[in-house]
C-alpha cells in the first residue's frame, strides 16, 4: 500500500444510490474474493446489485448463492480461513438463522464484513426496521457499527475491511443500516475511484490460513482446560479496536475529508439534555435539536456509531455534566429492567458520583415511523421527569395503549 492521498474532486463520482446500492458499490470496490449470501428483505438489493456486477464481469469474485443463511456464514468462514476477503449480507430472520455461525466467525477470528439492513424479528412477521436483530447478536463477538446515511454506509463498509483485517483486531464486523428507511432511500453518495479504494485497503494479508502445504487445524475442541483463555483473547482483540479504528479513520479522512468517529457529537457542548441514539433516528434527532435550539432549549445529540465495542469512557466524558440523557432505541428486551442501549449507558454512568438522569424510550418497533415529533415528545417528557427528579426505567412511545 502506498501513502494515502486526498482524492481530487474531478475523480469523485456523485450518484443517487439507496443504502443497499451504496453498500453494493462499496463491496464492488473492495476487491472481494468471495461473497456468500441468501436473499432477504430489506438487504436484497445489496446482493442483487453485487450479483449483477459479478455477472457483468466487473468484479473478480466468487459469488456463492447458498441455500440458507446458516450456510452463507459457514461458507464465509471457510473462504476467510484460506485467506480470502469475504462479505455477506442479511437481516432479521436470516441473521437469526446464522446465529450459531456468528459465534464461530468471531471466535475463529475471521475478518468477515457482514452488512445488515436492520429489520424486526417475527412474529408477527414484519419486514420493517427495528434493531432487534443485531442487538440480539450484540454478544456474538462481532464489532457492530450503525450508520445514518447512504454516504456513511458506503464509507463505513470500505473502512470495515481495513479494521477487521488488521492483525491487532481480526474480528468480523456488522455494518448496519436501517431497513427500508435507509436501505431503500436514494441519497447523494460521493463515490471514490476504485483504484483509490484498492490502494487504501491493499490486499488482505492473512495472519494464518488454511494451506495444504502447511496443514493446520482451525476450530478444534477446547474444553475446561483452554476455552476460557480463547475467550480472553477475543476480549483483548475487542479492546484493540478503538485504536485501529481511529487509525483507519485518519487514513480515510486524508483521502476523503470525511471522518465519523465511534460516535458523533452534535451541539452537546453546553447541552443540559443530550439525546442518545443511533442510525437514522440519530439524523432525525439532530434536525429536531436544531429546531429546539432556536427556541432556546439547551439540547444536543450523541449519535452512537460503534455499539461493539461500546466506547464507555468516551461517552461518559461527553454526557457526565448533562442533567439528563434521553435514549431512543428500537428494541425491547422483554422482561429486562430496561433495554439494550440504555442498559449500556446506565452501566457506563453508574460509577459517577453525580450522574445524569437516564430516560429510556422504546420507539419504532416493526418500522413504525419516528418523526421529529416523537423526539420532541420524549424531550418534553424528560423535562417533566427532571422537575419531578424521577423517571421510569423505560417506557414505550408511539404504541397505542
Amino acid at each position: 500500500m502506498t501513502a494515502v492521498k486526498r482524492i481530487p474532486k474531478d475523480q469523485i463520482a456523485i450518484e443517487g444510490l439507496t443504502g443497499d446500492a451504496a453498500i453494493a458499490h462499496a463491496l464492488k470496490q473492495c476487491d472481494l474474493d468471495v461473497l456468500a449470501a441468501y436473499p432477504i428483505t430489506p438487504q436484497t438489493i445489496i446482493v442483487e446489485d453485487y450479483q449483477k456486477f459479478a455477472a457483468n464481469g466487473e468484479v473478480h469474485c466468487r459469488v456463492i448463492p447458498v441455500e440458507s443463511e446458516h450456510s452463507a456464514m459457514s461458507a464465509c468462514i471457510g473462504a476467510s480461513a484460506v485467506g480470502a476477503r469475504v462479505a455477506t449480507a442479511s437481516a432479521s430472520a436470516g441473521l437469526a438463522l446464522m446465529w450459531e455461525i456468528l459465534y464461530c466467525a468471531a471466535s475463529m477470528r475471521m475478518p468477515i464484513i457482514f452488512t445488515v439492513a436492520n429489520r424486526a424479528l417475527s412474529g408477527p412477521i414484519n419486514i420493517h426496521n427495528d434493531w432487534s436483530d443485531t442487538y440480539g447478536a450484540r454478544d456474538s463477538g462481532f464489532i457492530q457499527i450503525y450508520t445514518q446515511s447512504c454516504q456513511e454506509a458506503y464509507d463505513t463498509t470500505i473502512m470495515a475491511f481495513k479494521i477487521a483485517e488488521d492483525h491487532k483486531v481480526l474480528l468480523p464486523i456488522m455494518v448496519c443500516i436501517d431497513g427500508f428507511i435507509l436501505s431503500h432511500n436514494v441519497e447523494r453518495v460521493e463515490m471514490l475511484p476504485t483504484k483509490a479504494v484498492e490502494n487504501f485497503l491493499g490486499v488482505r494479508e492473512p495472519f494464518i490460513k488454511l494451506d495444504p502445504d502447511n496443514p493446520i487445524t482451525m476450530g478444534p475442541l477446547a474444553l475446561t482446560d483452554y476455552y476460557f483463555e480463547f475467550k480472553e483473547q477475543q476480549e483483548r482483540a475487542m479492546e484493540a479496536v478503538p485504536e485501529v479504528f481511529a487509525q483507519v479513520e485518519t487514513d480515510f479522512e486524508k483521502m476523503t475529508g470525511r471522518r465519523y468517529g465511534m460516535f458523533e457529537e452534535y451541539r452537546t457542548d453546553d447541552a443540559e439534555i443530550i439525546i442518545f441514539t443511533h442510525s437514522t433516528p440519530g439524523g432525525t434527532a439532530k434536525a429536531t435539536v436544531d429546531v429546539l435550539r432556536e427556541k432556546g432549549e439547551k439540547v444536543g445529540v450523541l449519535r452512537l456509531r460503534m455499539f461493539r465495542p461500546f466506547p464507555t469512557k468516551e461517552i461518559v466524558e461527553v454526557v457526565k455534566n448533562a442533567k439528563a440523557v434521553i435514549v431512543f432505541e428500537k428494541c425491547r428486551s422483554f422482561g429486562a429492567p430496561s433495554n439494550p442501549l440504555a442498559l449500556e449507558l446506565r452501566t457506563a454512568l453508574y460509577d459517577l458520583e453525580k450522574r445524569p438522569m437516564v430516560v429510556d424510550f422504546v420507539i419504532g418497533l416493526g418500522g413504525r415511523d419516528c418523526p421529529p415529533t416523537t423526539i420532541v415528545e420524549g424531550y418534553e417528557k424528560t423535562k417533566e421527569y427532571l422537575k419531578k427528579g424521577k423517571a421510569p426505567l423505560y417506557e414505550t412511545m408511539g404504541v397505542r395503549k
Partner: protein, 98 residues
C-alpha cells in the same frame, strides 16, 4: 496446561500438524486386544486389514517384512475400545482385562 491466553495460538488453531501424538491415550485402556496369528487374514496372506481401517487411534500396525506379514498393536495409543475385535471377520482379536 498452565499457559496464559497470550501463550497459546490464536482461536485455538492447531498450528503443528499431528501433535495428537503427544497425547498418549494408552493410559485410558481397561481392556487390551489380544491377537491370534493362526486365523488372521493379514498374517496369512496380507489381506483384510479391517482392524487397521477401523482403529480410531491408528494403533493397529500391519507390517510387511522380508516377505512376511507381521501384526502388532501400538499400546501407547490403543484405548482398548474393542472396535478391532468387533470388526474382525475371523475372530482373531479378543479383549482381555488389563
Amino acid at each position: 496446561m498452565s499457559e496464559k491466553y497470550n501463550e497459546i495460538p490464536m482461536a485455538g488453531n492447531i498450528i503443528e500438524p499431528g501433535n495428537a501424538t503427544k497425547y498418549k491415550t494408552g493410559g485410558w485402556r481397561a481392556q487390551r486386544p489380544i491377537h491370534t496369528d493362526e486365523t488372521c487374514l493379514w498374517v496369512k496372506n496380507g489381506t483384510c486389514g479391517l482392524c487397521w481401517i477401523y482403529c480410531p487411534d491408528n494403533s493397529v500396525k500391519l507390517i510387511e517384512k522380508d516377505g512376511k506379514y507381521i501384526y502388532e498393536f501400538d499400546l501407547e495409543y490403543c484405548k482398548g475400545c474393542g472396535i478391532c475385535a468387533n470388526q474382525c471377520p475371523t475372530d482373531s482379536i479378543r479383549m482381555e482385562n488389563e
